[in-house]
């Protein structure tokens, strides 16, 4: 093993793999270091794969990538204690072209992506934890320290793709600690169920998948959402709330998940399914304002390590892959023009990121985290009121519809007040426009 590389990539998740693959394809001498037994064995996600971001890196990925089900149908449920109001979007047009999103099993997907990285010519080392950065007298990053014997390795540039707990960067003083209000804790289970039962239960065909996003009482007053995804022969069910909410709520995450599984609208969908894994993961949801410095002397940061997650649309892996690719393309360009990997030159990565959907989307929603933290009732009062309103209107009991409507509107006013509702609507509109 040569002691000096063009680039070292820390981590083999979507961001690290996108970076390592692109760098290796660009002809650079790349070392990628992963702490798991295999790539993916430390990684957790919902998990949805957005094809566009991957297509720009590996156009023919559909030929052999381990994909579960293309998502044909997207449901949104607002739940109260015993009922839910739902919307569904299903389009046959999703089937006419190459699918836009798939459910995946991350451990399998990451292993596949890593195989592609190896094929592209990168050296991938697993079971190795990066413990720190090596720097020269001027402070420029010149390599990494690992927990292997004689584990110092040198490179022109280090790509930090070590995920939400980006401790290497933190230890190097590149950023501070994550704050409980800027991070969501998600817990989930993978439950096995026969494919034909899944297809009957969710009203889908053999090669079709459903995503159900949920909000309301299932988070028991906390800021967060739940999700249920159909895989080929399993279901993924989970719930994520802001860590600051968990602290205030006092309900253990696994209890929250169990209660959600027992909701009368969800329980029948899971009947007979066998739990095979329970996982937990943090998601950097602080948005635009929480994104740290993403480049410096001899280093760049990509994916979750850089807080690049669009919490409003629950997109993360596509931002990760795109940032990994843009960082790699920047490094390749610098290399080709024989320019040094200085902060000034690597700033081009940030400029490309700013010009892409990644920073544009984060910027669009930069006020959302503040609004949600200031308005937790959005997650309790409205779902309850909506559900009560539907119940009133649908329950035929001899009362006329006009008085039902009057009662509903009175309940809304009593709970939030006319001004409160207008303020909520205005704040949400401002944050989402």
């Amino acid at each position: 093993m040569s002691e000096h590389f063009d680039a070292i990539v820390v981590g083999a998740g979507p961001a690290g793999n996108a970076a390592a693959y692109t760098l290796a394809k660009g002809g650079l001498n790349v070392l990628q270091i992963e702490r798991g037994e295999t790539p993916g064995s430390k990684n957790v996600q919902g998990a949805i794969l957005y094809s566009d971001a991957l297509e720009r890196i590996i156009p023919d990925f559909r030929e052999d990538a381990p994909l579960e089900r293309p998502v044909l149908e997207q449901r949104l449920w607002v739940l109260d204690e015993a009922s839910y109001i739902g919307s569904t979007f299903r389009s046959e047009e999703f089937k006419s072209g190459p699918p836009n999103r798939y459910t995946i099993i991350r451990a399998e997907f990451d292993r596949w992506f890593s195989e592609k990285v190896r094929e592209a010519g990168a050296l991938v080392i697993c079971e190795t934890t990066v413990t720190g950065l090596l720097r020269d007298d001027a402070g420029k990053v010149i390599g990494v320290q690992t927990d292997r014997m004689g584990g110092d390795v040198y490179a022109d540039v280090v790509v930090l793709a070590d995920g939400v707990n980006s401790l290497v960067a933190k230890r190097a003083g590149f950023h501070g600690e994550l704050q409980p209000k800027d991070v969501a804790l998600a817990v989930k289970e993978v439950l096995f169920l026969a494919p034909d039962v899944i297809e009957q239960r969710f009203n889908i065909g053999e090669d079709e998948g459903v995503v159900i996003e949920m909000m309301g009482k299932i988070t028991q007053g906390m800021i967060g959402t739940g999700f249920l995804y159909t895989n080929r022969e399993s279901l993924t069910i989970g719930v994520g709330c802001m860590l600051s909410s968990f602290r205030e709520g006092g309900i253990p995450p696994y209890q929250l998940l169990e209660d959600m599984k027992n909701h009368p609208a969800i329980r029948p969908l899971l009947r007979g399914a066998e739990g095979k894994e329970y996982a937990a993961h943090l998601i950097p949801e602080g948005g635009y304002k929480a994104v740290p410095q993403l480049y410096g002397e001899g280093w760049v940061m990509v994916g979750d390590a850089g807080g690049l997650v669009n919490a409003v649309h629950r997109e993360g892996s596509n931002l990760a892959m795109t940032s990994g690719r843009l960082a790699a393309e920047t490094i390749i360009d610098l290399k080709e023009h024989r320019r040094v990997m200085s902060a000034r030159n690597l700033g081009e990565y940030k400029r490309r990121l700013d010009a892409s959907f990644v920073m544009s989307d984060l910027k669009k929603y930069k006020h959302v985290p503040d609004v949600l933290h200031a308005s937790p009732h959005l997650f309790t009062t409205y779902p309850e009121l909506m559900s009560r309103a539907a119940k009133h209107m649908l329950h035929v009991d001899g009362a006329d519809k006009k008085s039902k409507q009057r009662q509903i509107s009175q309940e809304f006013r009593e709970e939030r007040g006319m001004l409160g509702m207008l303020t909520d609507a205005y704040k949400m509109w401002r944050a989402l426009r």
Partner: protein, 102 residues
């Protein structure tokens, strides 16, 4: 509020589904100063926020940590922001939780 909380769940049963390679004698997380948990920390958020139930209140008013079921999420480190009393680093390469599905 939590009318659905009909079945208190045993976290051990959930963790039992998972695959681990435990690094005997080398816990990757530790409590820096147990007296801080006992004397300075009011809510002991780690005992109800950790998704693996690694932290339990102990008889002396402090906290007991057992890292074997750790899911390596980082919650305990971040929730302890005020006291910064959790020493958190990744397990040695190859050890710890090994997700089959992730």
């Amino acid at each position: 509020m939590s009318t659905n909380t009909a079945t208190p769940v045993k976290i051990e049963e959930k963790l039992f589904q998972n695959r681990y390679r435990v690094d005997e004698g080398h816990p990757h997380i530790s409590v820096r100063d147990s007296s801080v948990c006992r004397d300075a920390c009011q809510d002991k958020a780690c005992t109800f926020c950790c998704p693996a139930g690694c932290y339990a209140p102990d008889a002396s008013g402090g906290v007991t940590l057992s890292v074997d079921g750790c899911l390596e999420c980082g919650t305990c480190r971040i929730i302890c922001a005020e006291h910064q009393n959790v020493e958190w680093w990744y397990p040695r390469g190859g050890y710890g939780i090994l997700f089959k599905f992730g």
